[in-house]
């Protein structure tokens, strides 16, 4: 596993030399908080509230964090792009574990994640989001968020290796949107038709968003009695570890086999 560190260092070093990437990394969370907070915030009211705005923004921020963490598109596109490059061929011919390069990318993604989550949270504090939970709960929330992002990047890389072509992966990016919509990230699942509500309740994004809301002490959506929403912290941990258990081996196998 220590072989993953140089692989991560390679990506981070190249990012440091790329001002455009840093600019996007820094501004994207700010833009997301402002746009979603004020556009949706004006129109959507949580059940039991007379109007949206403030309370909605407090509900929304954990959702945005989850949304950002679940963005598998960058991992997917770069995995597809690099899969057949000479560089990847060289890495495959090195005496390092076959998981080292994907793990390195996942670690680098985690570093970008820490940066964008921090900016997003600072921005959230400015527009009225508050942390009302204890320090331990807050740290647990951060841990869940990072774990979730870590597992999402393995899914992204797996799909990237599967599509094996940058264009296809780019086209497939649109499919990454519905999971965010069919969840409690932006709106409570209550207003959805029953069948859709059930899917949304069992969506890992919903569990993680609910877990963050519970741990940060933010307003949460009615659970409708669904187990993952009643026990969001446990459900989130099961989800993320489960996803890792499935996608780490799948992705590693794909990576090792590509082009064979």
């Amino acid at each position: 596993m220590r072989d993953a560190l140089p692989a991560a260092e390679r990506l981070l070093t190249s990012v440091i030399r790329n001002p455009a990437f840093i600019l996007v990394l820094v501004t994207a969370p700010i833009v997301l908080v402002l746009i979603f907070g004020f556009i949706f915030g004006g129109a959507i009211a949580l059940p039991g509230e007379s109007s949206g705005g403030q309370t909605y923004r407090e509900f929304l921020l954990p959702g945005l964090l989850v949304m950002t963490a679940s963005n598998i598109v960058p991992s997917m596109v770069s995995a597809a792009k690099e899969n057949h490059s000479g560089l990847t061929d060289r890495f495959r011919s090195l005496p390092i574990s076959r998981a080292a390069v994907p793990a390195g990318s996942a670690l680098a993604t985690l570093v970008y994640g820490v940066i964008s989550f921090s900016i997003m949270m600072i921005c959230g504090l400015v527009v009225g989001w508050r942390i009302r939970g204890s320090l331990a709960d807050t740290l647990l929330a951060m841990l869940i968020l990072l774990l979730f992002q870590f597992s999402a990047s393995w899914i992204g890389m797996y799909l990237g290796y599967l599509f094996d072509d940058e264009e296809t992966a780019g086209q497939a990016a649109i499919l990454a949107i519905p999971p965010g919509m069919v969840s409690n990230v932006f709106v409570p699942t209550e207003s959805m038709p029953a069948w859709l509500g059930t899917i949304a309740a069992w969506n890992p994004l919903s569990s993680v968003a609910a877990a963050l809301r519970e741990l940060f002490g933010n307003p949460s959506a009615p659970t409708g009695g669904a187990w993952p929403l009643e026990n969001p912290v446990t459900a989130s941990l099961i989800w993320t570890l489960g996803l890792l258990a499935v996608f780490v081996p799948l992705c590693t196998l794909r990576y090792a086999r590509a082009g064979r």
Binding site: R10, T13, L94
Partner: protein
Amino acid sequence: MIEAEGLGRGYGEVQALESLDLSVPEGTVCALLGPNGAGKTTAIRILATLLAPDTGTARICGYDVATQGAQVRRRIGLAGQHAAVDEALTGRDNLFILGLMHHLGRRAARARAAELLQRFDLEAAADRPVKGWSGGMRRRLDLIASLIAEPPVLFLDEPTTGLDPHSRDEIHSAVAELTRSGTTVLLTTQYLEEADRLADNLMVIDSGREIAQGTPEELKDLIGARVEVVLPSDEQISQAEQALTALGGDDVAVQEHRVSATVKAGSLTLPELVRHLDELGITLQDTGIRRPTLDEVFLNLTRSTR
């Protein structure tokens, strides 16, 4: 060191490699020659464990490429056909990261990077991102990247394509030096004089099959020597043609006053030729027996399979 038997690999309809046998003893250089699409890169990728063969087996330092990949990878260096360097990083960082991946440790990795950059004349550009480097410089960086761990077996896929004569010389002397210290090298090339100069053994392949193999001299002998007779006028042309045929010449060709034919290597000496023509009363302006260049060997060998 490198042993392969019956290697075969297809891509859908295309049979890229068909039953290739190869043996490269320790400390020698083997050059794989062949026209575009012959299967050279496919062969190298199989031997470097990047590609699984459909048929056959191969061993590197005694380890099977299909079942003992990790052992094989510990002993090989690969410079693929397409420069495998990270464009966003500087040359120095590229080598440094690879050094870390080879478990050199940070200090040793830095030192190794500096040493290689200096030896291959890349110091001036070393701290600029590779994006801004010329193609030849990237190629050189790619090559030295395969030397970081001083592997006993080196695979070089067209190591000098696109390099200027000076850089090519540098790579040639590096390869020569590596083999002196016991490194085994399998390289592919389109430059025959390069193969002639570097390789102890050549293998010509076409459409995935071996069509000839041996030392450069043996290959030249394979297509024989070219006898050329230049006459003062075109009077005795047909006599000269008959004389060359009688001496066992093939492919007799006439060009103005010049009659040429191919004879088996070593079957005819110059004095014998002159004496024979003199006995027939043929007046000569000039004559000679020329060994083929490797280019001619190559064209001759690969033409027959087209």
